[in-house]
């Protein structure tokens, strides 16, 4: 097999986080492949927030995410040692948790932020500061790596979806006629 046929030609993966309304937490909704963050935000809008409500969207390259399951954390005596240079400046990390296994569509939710020098240090701090009892998955993301949709994007990117009732099945006569047929056909 030649080298070119096995090479991964996909664009990098970006994870998307959707905030439905101001004040609600950002929740991971899935991922897109994109050449850069701006395209990830644009594609994320079309793939994930065309119908549901959305106020704000975050995109972050998957390579900036430190992800650990509770099982992984329990199996490791300690988190891998990192070389932390003494002069490493602390930065802000966003902490995400998945706290339910019940639904398949349940992704990690933003629960708060910590300041740390590395992602591992941030994870250690997060385990101390946030309720860790029912956490199945932790994601640690440096704020600097997150691309954020702006307040000015709300009108053009997110609001139009709300007026599009024609995208719902009830708007199609075929659908309503099928309902009518089912209703009037003796079973």
């Amino acid at each position: 097999m030649s080298d070119s046929s096995t090479r991964d030609t996909q664009w990098p993966r970006f994870e998307l986080f959707q905030q439905e309304r101001p004040g609600k937490p950002h929740v991971n909704v899935g991922s897109v492949h994109a050449p850069d963050g701006e395209m990830a935000l644009l594609n994320g809008r079309d793939v994930f927030v065309r119908r549901p409500e959305c106020h704000n969207l975050w995109a972050v390259s998957a390579r900036h995410i430190l992800a650990k399951t509770a099982a992984e954390l329990a199996a490791e005596e300690a988190l891998p040692d990192e070389l932390v240079p003494d002069e490493a400046a602390p930065q802000l990390y966003r902490i995400f948790q998945k706290t339910s296994q019940r639904r398949s569509m349940n992704y990690v939710t933003h629960v708060g932020d910590v300041e740390a020098r590395t992602a591992v240090e941030a994870l250690e701090l997060a385990q101390e500061r946030f309720d860790a009892a029912n956490v199945f998955v932790w994601w640690i993301v440096p704020v600097a790596a997150i691309l954020v949709s702006s307040e000015g994007d709300v009108e053009s990117m997110f609001q139009p979806a709300q007026g599009k009732t024609y995208r719902q099945p009830q708007e199609y006569r075929t659908f309503t006629q099928m309902q009518e047929i089912k209703r009037t056909t003796p079973s």
Partner: protein, 250 residues
Amino acid sequence: MNALERLLADKFLSLADDELILAHRNSEWTGHAPILEEDIAFANIAQDELGHATLWYRLRAALTGEEPDELVFFRDAADFTCAQLVELPKGDWALTIMRQYLFDALEMVRLPLYIESGYRPLTETAAKIRPEEIYHYRHTAAWVKRLGWGTVESHRRMQTALNELWPYTRQLFAPLPGEAALIEAGHLPDLTRLEMDWWAEVEPFLTAANLTIPAFTKTAVISRTDHTPHLAELVADLQAVARLDREAAW
């Protein structure tokens, strides 16, 4: 219907036909776009344009009483008044993105002018369409920039697309018969102003995207009743199912 309303009805038909035919061309990418994410995004844009076509057909219907479905599915291709730019086959991805960019740039400059129209239904419809067009422009401009600066191949394809499409843009700024009366009445913007605004948007952007705007060759402006052979083919495809059974309910 008075004379001005007759002219307005013609204008709305041309706006609607442009959006309908462009939407159909864009929809031809559904399932075939270069990547899955763009397949979804571009199908969404196609659906938006179809929605805008519906709004323009309704403005016409308010004046003439003609049903939009009747105009779309049971009108002969020769009676469509779309510009030739939107009739051209979808070509490669570069041609599709370049066409969408040139059209979105027109939307970006004309909708604010339509919002200032003295004809209230036009103002309201333009205000409704505008937020979506801001998004379309951002999306297609992002692609043009990246492909213009991408690889030798992507740049070559984008420049070829621009060269092919550029002469067709003239028709977008040609007045309909009698349109001067609508401009005079304050219902529609001056077309020279519109073209200058469009140029001021498109010229610096395309230049910054590493592309060269070709010189206009001197050609007579094409009437919106003159079409490429591609339109009849598209309309036959668009109308085939509806014409199988005129009485069928969908």
